[in-house]
C-alpha cells in the first residue's frame, strides 16, 4: 500500500507498522454494524412506505466510512453524498437523530427539513449528505481552506462516489488543493455503479491515477477491508494534518443494494444480475472483518455477537424514537432561509 502511494506522486508519511489498535477493534466493528443494521432497517421502512422520501443505502461500503472516520475528531470536517447515512454514523452522528430526520420529524438532526439526502451534524463536523453528486467536494475544499487558515491541524475529508469522480469539480479541487497544500483527503468510494451504469461504462481509466498529474498522491485500497482502509487513511490524514497536503484515495467496494431503495418497483429492466450481487456479498466488509478477526484471534465470536446484539437494540430504539417523534411545526417551513 505504502509503495503505491509513493509510486504515484509523492510519499505519504506513514508507518507501515500502523494498524488498528486491538483495543479499538470492537468499536470499529460496532460502527460498521451500526451502519449495517441502520441501513437494513431503513430498507425495510422504505419498502413498507414509512419513509416520506427516497433512501440510498450504504450497505456493503461500511469499511470505508468507518476506516476513514476513525482518524477524525469532531472538529475535523467531512462532507458526504446522497448515500450519506454511513458517513453520518461513522463520524459520530446519533442514530435516533438520523432516523427522526429521515422520518421527517421535529427531533431529526435537521428538524425534518432535509431528510436522508441532507443529514448533517455540524457540531460533529458533518457538513452533510448532499443531493448534488460532487457537491461535497467544494464544501470540503472550503473547510480545508479554513483549516489551513486557522492552523490548528484540522483536516477535511470529501467522500464521493466513482460517478462523482467524473464531475470536473474533482479535478478543479485537486489542482487547488495541490497548489495551496490544503489539509484534505479525497475519498472516492468506487462501488461499481454510477446509478444504474456500471462504472466501466462511464469512467475511463483509473480514478486514483487522476491525482498524480496535479502532483497529488493517489492510492487504491480495498474498500471492503477496514484494516486496509484504516491504514491508508491513517497516512493520508496524517499527511493532511501535518501540512503536507492532499491525498486521493480510491476505495474499491461494491454497492450491495440498489441505487435507491425501491428502484425495482419502477425500473424498466435490471442492470445487473442477482448472481453478481450474491458473489460480491461474499467479500463484503463485515464478512471480511469477522473472518479476519476470528482467524487472527483478535475478537471472539461472542464478542462479535455481543456487539451485534447491542447494536440491534440501539437501532430498534432509534426507530421507535423516530416513529414516536412529532412532526415539525408547520411554521418551521418559513424559517431557516436566512440567519
Amino acid at each position: 500500500m505504502t509503495e503505491e502511494l509513493e509510486a504515484s506522486g509523492g510519499p505519504l508519511v506513514s508507518d507501515q507498522s500502523n494498524t488498528i489498535p486491538k483495543t479499538q477493534l470492537a468499536d470499529i466493528y460496532r460502527r460498521m454494524v451500526t451502519i449495517r443494521k441502520a441501513e437494513e432497517a431503513m430498507g425495510d421502512l422504505s419498502l413498507s412506505g414509512e419513509l416520506p422520501g427516497p433512501v440510498h443505502l450504504y450497505i456493503g461500503q461500511e469499511a470505508t466510512a468507518v476506516g476513514v472516520c476513525a482518524h477524525l475528531a469532531d472538529d475535523d470536517w467531512v462532507a458526504s453524498t446522497h448515500r450519506g447515512h454511513g458517513h453520518f454514523l461513522a463520524k459520530g452522528g446519533v442514530p435516533k437523530e438520523m432516523f427522526a430526520e429521515v422520518f421527517g420529524k421535529a427531533t431529526g438532526i435537521c428538524r425534518g427539513m432535509g431528510g436522508s439526502m441532507h443529514v448533517a451534524d455540524v457540531k460533529r463536523g458533518i457538513l452533510g449528505a448532499n443531493g448534488i453528486v460532487g457537491g461535497g467536494i467544494g464544501l470540503t475544499m472550503g473547510a480545508a481552506l479554513s483549516a489551513s487558515l486557522d492552523g490548528k491541524g484540522k483536516v477535511a475529508v470529501a467522500f464521493f462516489g466513482d460517478g462523482a469522480a467524473n464531475q470536473g469539480v474533482l479535478m478543479e479541487a485537486l489542482n487547488v488543493a495541490s497548489l495551496w497544500k490544503l489539509p484534505i483527503v479525497f475519498v472516492c468510494e468506487n462501488n461499481g455503479f454510477s446509478e444504474f451504469s456500471p462504472s466501466s461504462t462511464v469512467t475511463a481509466g483509473e480514478i486514483w491515477k487522476r491525482a498524480e498529474p496535479f502532483h497529488v498522491p493517489g492510492v487504491e485500497v480495498d474498500g471492503n477491508d477496514v484494516f486496509a482502509v484504516w491504514e491508508t487513511a491513517f497516512a493520508a490524514v496524517h499527511r493532511a494534518r501535518t501540512g503536507q497536503g492532499p491525498t486521493l484515495i480510491e476505495a474499491a467496494t461494491y454497492r450491495l443494494r440498489g441505487h435507491v431503495e425501491y428502484e425495482h418497483t419502477f425500473l424498466s429492466k435490471p442492470y445487473r444480475t442477482d448472481d453478481e450481487v450474491k458473489q460480491k456479498a461474499l467479500t463484503e466488509p463485515l464478512v471480511v472483518f469477522r473472518s479476519h478477526c476470528l482467524e487472527h484471534k483478535l475478537l471472539t465470536e461472542d464478542a462479535l455477537s455481543d456487539v451485534e446484539a447491542e447494536v440491534e437494540v440501539q437501532i430498534a430504539e432509534a426507530i421507535a424514537f423516530a416513529q414516536d417523534a412529532p412532526a415539525p411545526p408547520v411554521q418551521q417551513a418559513r424559517r431557516f432561509m436566512f440567519a
Partner: protein, 327 residues
C-alpha cells in the same frame, strides 16, 4: 386516443421523432435504464450510438448539446432533475442562449434539454425546485411546461422540431395521472396557451403542476357561483400574452398560480404584463399564488404548507372578489 401518463407520452414523442429524423439523438445520465421511465427502451430501438448513457458531468453535457446542435444534429439532452440544470447552467446561459445572437445568426441550435421539476415527494430542497424563472430570464431559451400527457407529447414534438434551444420540463415525476393522448402525429405549437376551462368571472393563469390545482379550485369556486377561466400558458417562452390579456379583459380579475418561488417568478412576470397591458380591464389587485421565498422542505406536512394548492387559489380569488385586496 389512449390513456397514458405524461412520462409515457414523453417517451412516445422521443421515439416518434427519432424514427422520423435520424439527426435526433439522445444523451444523458442513465437514459438507457431511465430513472423516470421517459427514455426507457429507446436504446434498444435506436442503439447506443443514438441513445447514450453519459457519465455524471452536467457542465460538459449542456455544452456538448450546444456543439452537437451547432454541427448538424438535433440533440435531446436529458438532465434528470431540474436542479442539475443549475449544475450545467454555464453552457445554457453563456452558450445556448447567446451563440446564435453573437454570431449574427450563423449558428442554429436545434436542441432540447429535458428535466423533471417540482416538489411534493419529499425529495428535499435541491431536487424539488421549480426552475423555469431562471431560464425565462436568459432570453435565448424557449421554456415549455406541459400540464397534461397530451400537451407533453405535442409540445415535445414541437420542441424537437424547433430550431432553437428549448427546455422541456416535466411535472409530476414518474407517477403522474394518466389522461387521453391523441393517436397519430400530435403537435402543439410552442407559444400557444390553452384555455383548460372557460369562465367569465375570474382568470386563473396556472402553470405546470398548478393547472390541476386551478381546475380543482374552479370546481370549488363554481359551487359558490364563481365561474373561473383557467389559462394554461404551456410554454413560458414564448409566452402567449394575448390569450391571457383577452381572458382578463373578459373577466376583470387575475390570479396567477405558479409553483416557483415568488421573487422573479413566472407569476410575477405574467402579473406585470397584465398590470401594464391590460390595466384598464383590471377590477382588483393581481394576485400571485406561489411558493414564498423559501426552499422546499423535506417533511411532508411542511412541504404541503409551502407548495400552493387549490385551497390557496380559492382563497386568493375570494380575497379579490370580496374587494379586500384593493388597498
Amino acid at each position: 386516443m389512449a390513456r397514458k401518463s405524461l412520462i409515457a407520452a414523453v417517451n412516445e414523442a422521443i421515439r416518434e421523432e427519432m424514427e422520423r429524423d435520424p439527426r435526433v439523438v439522445l444523451f444523458g445520465e442513465d437514459v438507457e435504464t431511465s430513472l423516470f421511465g421517459d427514455t426507457a427502451g429507446l436504446s434498444a430501438v435506436f442503439g447506443t450510438k443514438r441513445v447514450r448513457n453519459t457519465p455524471i458531468c452536467e457542465t460538459l453535457l449542456t455544452g456538448m448539446a450546444v456543439g452537437a446542435a451547432a454541427s448538424g444534429y438535433r440533440p435531446i439532452c436529458h438532465m434528470m432533475y431540474g436542479n442539475f440544470i443549475y449544475t450545467g447552467f454555464d453552457a445554457i446561459a453563456n452558450q445556448a442562449a447567446k451563440l446564435r445572437y453573437m454570431t449574427g445568426g450563423q449558428i442554429t441550435l436545434p436542441l432540447v434539454y429535458i428535466a423533471s421539476i417540482g416538489g411534493g415527494k419529499s425529495a428535499a430542497a435541491q431536487h424539488s425546485d421549480t426552475i423555469y424563472p431562471v431560464l425565462m430570464n436568459l432570453g435565448g431559451i424557449k421554456v415549455v411546461v406541459p400540464s397534461t400527457p397530451a400537451d407533453a407529447k405535442g409540445l415535445l414534438i414541437s420542441a424537437i422540431r424547433d430550431d432553437n434551444p428549448v427546455v422541456f420540463l416535466e411535472v409530476g415525476g414518474r407517477t403522474g395521472r394518466a389522461a387521453e393522448v391523441p393517436d397519430g402525429e400530435h403537435l402543439v405549437e410552442l407559444g400557444k396557451a390553452d384555455i383548460k376551462r372557460y369562465g367569465k368571472d375570474v382568470t386563473l393563469v396556472a402553470i405546470g403542476s398548478m393547472v390541476a390545482q386551478a381546475m380543482k379550485a374552479s370546481a370549488q369556486l363554481a359551487e359558490s357561483g364563481i365561474d373561473a377561466e383557467v389559462v394554461d400558458p404551456r410554454s413560458l417562452v414564448p409566452l402567449d400574452k394575448e390569450t391571457i390579456i383577452q381572458s382578463v379583459k373578459k373577466t376583470g380579475y387575475l390570479v396567477v398560480a405558479d409553483e416557483s418561488r415568488d421573487a422573479c417568478s413566472a407569476a410575477s412576470y405574467i402579473a406585470s404584463i397584465v398590470a401594464d397591458e391590460a390595466f384598464g380591464a383590471l377590477k382588483a389587485s393581481v394576485r400571485r399564488v406561489t411558493v414564498a421565498d423559501v426552499a422546499i422542505p423535506y417533511s411532508p406536512a411542511l412541504e404541503k404548507a409551502v407548495i400552493p394548492d387549490a385551497g390557496a387559489i380559492v382563497a386568493a380569488v375570494n380575497s379579490l372578489k370580496s374587494g379586500r385586496s384593493a388597498a
